[in-house]
């Protein structure tokens, strides 16, 4: 019956786009370069985002706290602020204030000494309960993304598996966190946001629709840059030279996409099974004996195959000025830097956090490391 439906569909809508999972190919060809990344300092418990301060320090969000890290390898760490909700996206303003996305609260501005100096809790009468990422434009405007109207940032997997109509927003405000307005609505978990170097476009990466879109600051001029990624795109970072960096939460798998289509099964799974045991992407690659297994992941002669269907994966990409991936770093199924939520260029270095494996890493750059 489904075959008949497919045939009719192909006849009636010959040009309908099939949103299949692209093969990891071209710039996305698998390598092991992310596994060669150097760990900086000790473990950080589930770090989510990093932001370089104007004073050379690095701010890291972890749980309800923000750490301030200093030193060459950012290994001198102290608690900068403790907030009343899990902290997600961070951004530093040129005047030294730090913006932080706090789950259930909205956007909060902190002074260099760690005191709350400003808040943005609602826009157009509605609260911002799911702030994901924040970035500052050169002209002083602040762009914030709100992931969903129904779920908090910690429930990202629930939001994916619920498969509701997209309800995320791109919100703009001024540097004093006033004058907030919705630039774009109905976005599917817009985890990545970056402003182009000339300030004329805002790039938004939507995790659940696997695409990268550009918006004009007034919300018009929507332009899809990449319409289908193999993974779930995460945070974006834009450096002055025009290139951009993108982190991927995990890779899509045929099984996950299948379960997303199987609504009855998916709903029952969400109702009866703890979320860490669901079929779906995960950030950490640490095996839980009771998590679902796929045939390709069965160890053969004691070896976990790197090409097995990935439950968790490590992937970051350098994008050129047009948004096309130019270079990628992978940590494959048997690797150890999985679940990267953020990547940022800081001076000549590129740092990333692996939320899945609790660490801050520095990417190996240059051609020499490519043959890994």
């Amino acid at each position: 019956m489904s075959l008949l439906g497919d045939i009719i569909d192909r006849v009636l809508f010959p040009n309908r786009e099939i949103h299949g999972i692209p093969v990891l190919d071209g710039a996305f060809s698998p390598n092991q370069r992310l596994d060669q990344a150097r760990r900086l300092g000790g473990e950080i418990e589930r770090p989510d985002d990093i932001a370089p301060g104007p004073d050379g320090a690095l701010y890291v969000s972890t749980g309800n706290r923000i750490l301030r890290c200093t030193g060459d390898d950012f290994d001198a760490r102290e608690v900068f602020a403790t907030l009343d909700g899990p902290v997600g996206g961070l951004a530093c303003l040129p005047d030294g204030r730090l913006l932080a996305c706090v789950s259930g609260r909205g956007l909060i501005a902190l002074s260099p000494s760690g005191e709350i100096v400003g808040k943005l809790e609602s826009v157009g009468g509605g609260t911002i309960a799911c702030p994901l990422s924040v970035t500052a434009a050169p002209d002083g405007a602040v762009y914030l993304t709100d992931g969903s109207r129904t779920n908090a940032p910690e429930l990202w997997l629930t939001d994916l598996m619920q498969n509701r109509a997209p309800s995320g927003r791109l919100i703009a405000c001024n540097s004093a966190l006033g004058g907030a307005k919705v630039v774009a609505d109905r976005l599917a978990w817009p985890l990545g946001v970056a402003v182009s170097a000339d300030g004329r476009e805002i790039w938004v990466a939507e995790s659940w629709t696997h695409r990268l879109t550009a918006f004009a600051p007034d919300g018009g001029g929507k332009r899809i840059i990449v319409k289908n990624y193999t993974g779930y795109p995460g945070r974006l970072d834009r450096s002055a030279s025009g290139e951009a960096w993108m982190a991927f939460l995990a890779l899509r798998t045929q099984l996950t996409e299948f379960v997303l289509r199987e609504r009855a099964f998916c709903e029952e799974m969400m109702r009866t099974v703890p979320s860490e045991l669901w079929i779906g992407p995960a950030l950490d690659g640490r095996l839980n004996p009771r998590e679902p297994t796929q045939i390709g992941r069965i160890k053969k002669l004691g070896i976990q195959k790197p090409w097995a269907p990935p439950r968790s994966y490590g992937l970051v990409a350098r994008l050129d000025a047009d948004g096309e991936a130019a270079e990628t770093w992978h940590s494959r199924v048997d690797g150890r830097v999985h679940g990267v939520t953020t990547i940022r260029r800081i001076g000549s270095r590129v740092l990333a956090v692996s939320k899945g494996r609790d660490c801050l890493v520095e990417l190996p750059l240059g051609r020499g490391a490519q043959e890994g």
Partner: protein, 703 residues
């Protein structure tokens, strides 16, 4: 409602359909159905079609066409084509009349000479094609034109003689108009011919060689077949059969007209294609050619009798042929795919939440570190030790995935030697009273290795289930075995529907596809003891020798089958709802039993087991590497007693060195661990075990 659904999924008609499609004889289903349909159509459309005289007339007119189609089939099955059959048929018809009726040669001599003529024409075709490497199409076309031209010449030259021929003898007339048991003689000859050529092509070496050459000339040559001679013989046979048809035609018609045999090669070709014989060669049967010929013959003669004009008849036949051939081509090509789509038929399995395996949960299954420091034996010297066993001299025997039995010599197990090479995929091991090593081999059956290393077959077949379409008499997937005190060998066949490589599909079905089988070496009889078991595994004789313990891997149960005592012949559930998938069971020194969990149950897989249609769609929609499967990357070892109480478990957290534990064997105070997909055998010292205990004593030296 739920029970109805469950019943539906357990006995789905899809099962029947899947096994039906698997049958070889389902391939010509389309020509067969069409033959019946055409026959029924004319039986309804034409009055008196079914009267015996009418049927006899039909058969009489059909027989020669059927023979020519068989002749054509020979050439096509050999990978070529013989267009000259129609002309050879016509010439043979003339020759038979000329030699017998005009020259007055004896009938047997005539028949032999005519067939020799056919063979000679075939030899010209075959000689040119096989030895001269000419194209079959052009070669036989040329022979067709030459023979046809010669035929036209001679019929014109002998017009007067042909017009005034005497009637032949009684035998000649009998060949033309006689009947055997009501069947016209020529039809009887066609039946004999079809049966014997079918037998020839499928059972006799030169015939099988024709099929082999047709399938793949290169492969046949590599297999040592003389390709040229085989091709040559195929055309000789084709020409001879065409000539034989001419003899019968001559006896029936006693005349040789200018249109005799015109276009018969086209009809024969159409018949063969309609019957579904591949033009590429090697695929098809004689029966299909005859069916195809019957369809075409019935269509032509039936439409003539219905009074339809000749042009329309041709057009209708053309259209029917086109549709039928189109269907048939698609069917032959996609039958495998259809089978793939319908074969997997998941059933409904309800699971209760299992006991917790969480560390510190207090259950006997709670995770611990007891296998973490297992010593690795034979690391990277073994591939997939599904089962392990030790002999009385402490040597360690195990199975390798390449089909051999490997022995590691005591005491340090550093020396590796191939004890025996059998083939297949050896799985479960057991020693009998005489120290013969018995082994279950997936894909082969049960074999044994004597201490002097000679390999012998124990059994490879059992009683067939009469109510089942699929022939389950051959052993598909013998899995584990044990020997009873009276010497009977009890073994499990995990599945009769899937091979070992497809174990996951059997798991998706979760249906009782397996069985428990008993072989008695004293009588040599093998019989099925229990049927419809879901992946039976872990066969182990209880300590008292009165019952066989067997595990159902997919249902996570341990069962007891009584072989002696008051309950002999009955089976009972011993432990239900275990948190892992059970594999081998073996005796422990303290009167209990060791059980290997090949994997742990996962809540999502349990949920999927309650959703048969979800699993069906998953198998259809996503590639095999992505299928959800039981969590066999994590196993553990548990111990249970005769009352079905689990007392302890041994874990390798994270499955670092022992994922997929399939077997355990206790021997002299040590526990040995094997795994289906592992690269090592593990060993740990058991602190509280009897250091002198060995299985052989436990089995054979009891008071």
């Amino acid at each position: 409602m739920k029970s109805l659904q469950r019943f539906w999924h357990r006995n789905s008609p899809q099962l029947f359909l899947g096994e039906l499609l698997e049958k070889r004889w389902m391939e010509p289903i389309i020509p067969f159905t069409l033959t019946i349909a055409v026959f029924l159509f004319f039986a309804l459309a034409i009055p008196n079609y079914l009267r015996p005289s009418s049927l006899q007339e039909l058969m009489r007119n059909f027989a020669e066409q059927g023979m020519v189609a068989v002749a054509m089939a020979f050439s096509i099955l050999s990978g070529g084509l013989d267009l000259s059959v129609g002309a050879v048929f016509a010439m043979a018809n003339f020759l038979a009349i000329y030699l017998y009726l005009i020259l007055g040669l004896p009938l047997p001599v005539t028949i032999v000479l005519v067939i020799l003529f056919g063979a000679a024409m075939g030899a010209i075709n075959g000689g040119l094609i096989a030895y001269g490497k000419t194209r079959p199409f052009l070669t036989t076309l040329v022979v067709l034109i030459i023979v046809r031209a010669a035929y036209n010449k001679v019929t014109v030259a002998y017009t007067n003689e042909l017009a005034s021929i005497d009637l032949g003898s009684g035998v000649w007339d009998f060949m033309g108009t006689g009947r055997i048991l009501g069947v016209p003689v020529n039809m009887a000859a066609l039946i004999v011919l079809a049966v014997s050529t079918h037998f020839f092509l499928t059972r006799v070496k030169p015939g099988v060689h024709i099929m082999a050459v047709g399938s793949s000339r290169k492969a046949a040559r590599h297999a040592g077949v003389n390709v040229k001679r085989v091709l040559f013989s195929a055309y000789v046979i084709s020409g001879s059969i065409a000539a034989l048809a001419g003899v019968f035609y001559a006896a029936r018609q006693n005349s040789s007209g200018t249109d005799t045999g015109v276009g018969w090669e086209i009809n024969a070709l159409a018949a063969v294609v309609l019957g579904g014989i591949s033009l590429a060669g090697g695929r098809g049967t004689i029966a299909r050619a005859v069916m195809g010929a019957a369809i075409i013959f019935m269509l032509i003669s039936g439409m003539v009798r219905l009074g339809i004009s000749g042009n329309l008849t041709t057009a209708v036949i053309g259209i029917i042929l086109l549709v039928a051939v189109g269907f048939n081509v698609k069917w032959v090509k996609n039958k495998g795919k259809v089978l793939q789509k319908v074969y997997v038929t998941p059933s409904w399995v309800d699971f209760e939440p299992p006991p917790s395996v969480e560390r510190g949960s207090g259950t006997p299954f709670a995770e611990n570190d007891r296998l973490k420091d297992a010593e690795a034996i034979a690391l990277n010297k073994i591939e997939g030790p599904e089962d392990i066993i030790l002999d009385r001299k402490d040597n360690l025997y195990t199975v390798n995935r390449n089909g051999s039995i490997i022995r590691f010599l005591a005491p340090d197990y550093e020396v590796r030697e191939e004890f025996a090479r059998i083939g297949g995929r050896p799985l479960g091991l057991a020693f009998d009273r005489d120290q013969n090593l018995l082994v279950c081999i997936a894909g082969m059956g049960v074999y044994g290795v004597k201490p002097d290393r000679t390999v012998f077959k124990v059994t490879d077949r059992t009683t067939r289930t009469r109510t089942r379409l699929k022939d389950d008499s051959r052993l598909y997937l013998a899995d584990d075995l044990d020997v009873a005190p009276d010497g009977k060998i009890y073994f499990s066949e995990a599945s009769t529907r899937y091979e070992l490589a497809d174990w996951a599909l059997d798991g998706f079905e979760g249906r009782g596809n397996g069985r428990l089988i008993c072989h008695d070496p004293a009588t040599g009889v093998t019989r099925t003891v229990l049927k419809n078991l879901a992946f039976p595994n872990g066969i182990c004789l209880s300590h008292d020798g009165q019952s066989v313990l067997w595990a159902s891997t997919w249902l996570c149960q341990i069962n007891r089958y009584w072989i002696a005592g008051p309950k002999a012949g009955t089976s009972e559930l011993l432990i239900d709802n275990l948190p892992g998938y059970c594999d081998n069971i073996n005796r422990a020194s303290d009167g209990k039993y060791w059980l290997a969990f090949v994997g742990l149950r996962t809540p999502v897989y349990d949920l999927a087991m309650r959703n048969p249609s979800f699993r069906t769609r998953m198998v259809k929609q996503i590639p095999p590497d992505e299928w959800l499967c039981p969590g066999i990357n994590f196993g553990c070892v548990v111990k249970f007693d005769d009352n079905g109480v689990v007392t302890e478990s041994l874990w390798d957290p994270g499955g670092l060195s022992h994922p997929t534990i399939t077997s355990i064997r206790e021997h002299k105070g040590y526990l040995y661990i094997g795994g289906l997909e592992n690269n090592r055998i593990g060993r740990i010292r058991l602190a509280d075990a009897d250091p002198t205990w060995e299985a052989h004593k436990s089995y054979w030296e009891r008071a």
